[in-house]
Amino acid sequence: MSDFITRLKNITGLNIHKEKLYQASLKVDKEKIRKTLLDLKKEGFLQFTTLTCIDWIEEKTFQLVYHLWHREEKLHLKVKIDIDRDAPIVETVSDIYIVAQTYEREVKEMFGVDFKGNKRLIPFILEDWNEIPPMRRDFNTREYVKDMYETEDRTEEIFKPRWKKYD
């Protein structure tokens, strides 16, 4: 395992940290993400597991984490980039890994991160959503719920359902 990481370091010149037995992480610049993933794919990271996003609201950054998996060496590699929270634009990797297309759609919808070059960045699961993306930390869920969905009982006037309670 460590051999492979060392070899990977030597070949790609990347600063990879081993975290657990089968896990390693790597932080690169936002501009270098495509080149890095291309290199890693060449090295055998054929599976793009998922793409996640973390909202570091205090540091005004989004952290995108690309999860890759190497089948032969059994290595889960996390490639992390930081992007500016105010102008969240990053280049797509969907032409490198085709599955990334969908993950990018999800991140776009839930965090509002724009992916330049993704051909299918259409709405994903939310329908008729007019607010700021719901997974951002500055989105106030409680308030939104309070506004949207009434919680007080006011069906008395219309039609009161019956109950079956089991304690």
Binding site: D128, V145, I158, F159, W163, K164, Y166
Partner: protein, 170 residues
């Protein structure tokens, strides 16, 4: 029409809208262990044939649209049964931005079965209650829905575009 109500009560064809974890309680109710067919309750494939709309679990706004459309496609007399805490007040999704909290605001729920999850015995008991109620003409949610159509539509319109989703506006 009380005689017809007796027949209606004894033959309840059910359309179960299975979201979330509630669906897992249905198979024991349907199969040999609890056997709901002995009360004349059988699952149906399409809303056109069904009498009961059973909603087992949380409803996101997105699924609510479909449920309302399905409800409107059913032939009256029809009844709605809310199943589990999620339909009562949101349950564990009480602060979720995507799921509705009180189903009775959008559909005329005739009977709630509380619990997270209600056991099969609870479901059976509720069905018997429903059966008695229908036979005596106590449950008339479908009439209320027609009478207070605007009220229900107003509540629904807060969440989505009702014109687009209701069969009655086409």
């Amino acid at each position: 029409m009380s005689i017809l109500n007796k027949f209606r009560g004894k033959s309840l064809w059910m359309l179960h809208y299975c979201t979330g974890c509630g669906a897992i309680e249905m198979p024991p109710v349907m199969t040999s262990r609890y056997d709901m067919e002995r009360f004349g309750i059988i699952p149906m494939a399409t809303p056109r044939q069904a009498d009961i709309l059973l909603i087992t679990g949380y409803l996101a706004v997105k699924t609510l649209k479909r449920v309302i459309r399905t409800y409107e496609q059913m032939h009256s007399p029809k009844w709605v049964v809310g199943f589990g805490a999620c339909t009562v007040n949101g349950g564990m999704y009480w602060d979720s931005y995507a799921t509705i909290k009180k189903l009775e605001l959008y559909l005329p729920v005739d009977l709630y079965i509380a619990g997270c999850m209600p056991r099969p015995e609870a479901i059976m008991d509720a069905f018997i209650e429903l059966r008695k109620g229908i036979s005596s003409g106590k449950y008339e949610g479908w009439k209320k829905y027609i009478e207070n159509y605007d009220w229900y539509k107003k509540n629904q319109a807060k969440l989505f575009d009702v014109k687009k989703w209701s069969v009655n506006y086409e």
